[in-house]
């Protein structure tokens, strides 16, 4: 039973990584109504920018805000330069462009910083938290930051006019234009915010999994899974989903005999799909009821 408790706690710690990523996924989904395949690579690239700034001698707390600003601008530029010219193209064409972006960012990062793993500092340190060996200060800090971001996003989307406009622009661009929402800029803003949140996620994740160009590819899978499980329309759901994915995966790996260890991710994914079959809009997503 002690192992069960440990694995749940470890699942929460790992889940914090997924939750962080899931939040970035939901953010962009709110802004552009798509899942962004390149989200993980954007986060990775931002983290490398922070790494480079620190390599140039800037202290952590200077490099961090600069990275966020650069990432925000980068996100806006991606929208304006890459997506604006094709905003009429079908959704699948957009998906393909996400894939192209993924390839570009991954390859460029590898070219500049090579593919060997690099350590990345944590602002919280890696000492065990309260002497407990199960969760480190960094992991606790990561959970804290994730929850804080969640609250900020909730307030932003729920109570600010610009948050409302962004949701409107994503949900129904034509109608949004008709009430005067500048949809193009809302998209750009969404991209910028998603990039900045992705940067935070990358900077928090890198101390755990180490910085390298491929670090986000698998984490993005978990982030998607968490976001979809929790409900793509709900930031809180995404965070919950991220934690759940971490816990379920750890428990499957530890307690299912023979195949558990080898198939822990597929088992976790199958469980999620099973949940979705019965609750198609995720645990906390709002069901869209539409009358014809």
């Amino acid at each position: 039973m002690e192992l069960l408790g440990q694995q749940i706690l470890a699942g929460i710690a790992t889940g914090a990584i997924y939750a962080c990523m899931a939040l970035a996924v939901v953010m962009i989904y709110q802004a552009i109504d798509h899942l962004n395949f390149a989200q993980g690579e954007m986060a990775m690239f931002s983290t490398f920018i922070a790494y480079q700034l620190m390599l140039w001698g800037l202290p952590y707390w200077v490099a961090f805000p600069i990275t966020l600003i650069v990432s925000f601008i980068g996100g806006v530029l991606i929208d304006r330069v890459v997506f604006k010219p094709i905003h009429d193209a079908p959704i699948l064409s957009h998906v393909v462009v996400f894939i192209a972006l993924l390839a570009i960012l991954n390859s460029t990062a590898g070219f500049i910083w090579d593919f060997t793993v690099k350590s990345f500092p944590s602002p919280f340190g890696s000492a065990p938290l309260f002497g407990s060996s199960l969760i480190s200060a960094h992991q606790a800090g990561m959970i804290g930051v994730t929850l804080l971001l969640l609250v900020l996003l909730f307030v932003f989307f729920r109570y600010t006019r610009i948050g409302l406009s962004m949701r409107a622009a994503a949900a129904n661009p034509a109608s949004a234009r008709l009430v005067g929402v500048r949809v193009g800029w809302m998209n750009a803003l969404g991209w910028g915010m998603a990039a900045a949140i992705g940067a935070i996620a990358g900077i928090l994740i890198a101390p755990v999994v180490f910085l390298e160009p491929n670090m986000m590819i698998s984490i993005l899978l978990y982030g998607f899974a968490g976001a979809v499980l929790g409900g793509l329309t709900s930031p809180a759901g995404a965070v919950l989903g991220g934690f759940l994915v971490g816990i379920v995966e750890n428990l499957a790996g530890t307690f299912i005999p023979v195949i558990g260890g080898e198939l822990k991710l597929p088992i976790a994914l199958m469980l999620i799909v099973a949940v979705l079959v019965f609750k198609p809009s995720g645990l906390m997503g709002r069901t869209v009821v539409q009358r014809v």
């Binding site: 409302l164 034509a174 949004a176 234009r177 008709l178 009821v289």
Partner: protein
């Protein structure tokens, strides 16, 4: 009365296939003008062209400003509120959030709050459902919400695209009562597109008849309503 909207030689279409071939009409400040015609005559296309949702050529002057070539978002800021075909509800948002979105171009927060209350006064059923997800409203309620959202702009001109579509006759009658009241009390000019010609002619003061992208006849609504020939050949009642 002065001319609020003046349209000349309006040409527009979809994918290179023109649907309007030089439409001309105008609308007096404070008036209600209706565009009549069969399915596919170009009524909806005209509205879309006017508010920049599709590319168009020709001239459209609104209170001295040329609309053609402007972005939809900027046209809205001139005070033109479009109640689109299909109502354009933000289904995942609450009724109140939908109304707030209508006032997106306005700055003054307390004015907006008052206006929301005013919309609720016009449409009490929306007040009951203010926190409800808009997608769950009935068709009639969604149409009211769409009109309410347009009012939140404090528009000078409302473009109404088939407000009666798919609604029960009782609901339609209620709706047109409210529209008449809005025109009378709030001095909102209206450009009304309708298939239900007799209904439209009862509200409008001026009417234009569209056929395959061209205006074929026009005149005061009362006169069109009495014109047996027009009625038989174009309006089908």
């Amino acid at each position: 009365m002065s001319t609020l909207l003046d349209v000349k030689g309006l040409v527009a279409g979809y994918g290179g296939i023109p649907a309007l071939h030089g439409v001309e009409f105008n609308l007096e400040e404070g008036g209600v003008t209706t565009l009549l015609g069969a399915n596919g005559a170009g009524k909806t296309t005209t509205l879309r062209a006017l508010c920049g949702m599709i590319r168009a050529r020709g001239e459209a002057t609104f209170a001295g400003k040329r609309l053609i070539g402007m972005q939809t978002e900027d046209i809205v800021r001139l005070g033109i509120a479009h109640v689109p075909e299909g109502r354009g509800t933000f289904t995942r948002m609450s009724v109140e959030e939908n109304l707030q979105l209508g006032a997106m171009t306005r700055r003054n927060g307390s004015d907006i709050k008052q206006d929301i209350e005013r919309v609720y006064d016009h449409f009490p059923r929306l007040r009951q459902r203010r926190a409800q997800q808009a997608g769950t409203l009935s068709g009639g309620e969604q149409q009211m919400l769409a009109i309410g959202r347009a009012l939140m702009l404090r528009p000078r001109l409302m473009l109404l695209d088939e407000p009666s579509f798919g609604l029960a006759p009782l609901v339609v009658r209620e709706m047109f009562h409210i529209l008449a009241a809005l025109n009378r009390d709030e001095k909102v000019s209206m450009l009304l597109v309708e298939q239900n010609a007799s209904l439209a002619l009862s509200l409008a003061d001026t009417a234009y008849l569209l056929e395959t992208g061209r205006i074929v006849t026009s005149g005061p609504a009362a006169q069109i309503r009495e014109d047996e020939g027009v009625r038989r050949s174009y309006l089908g009642y």
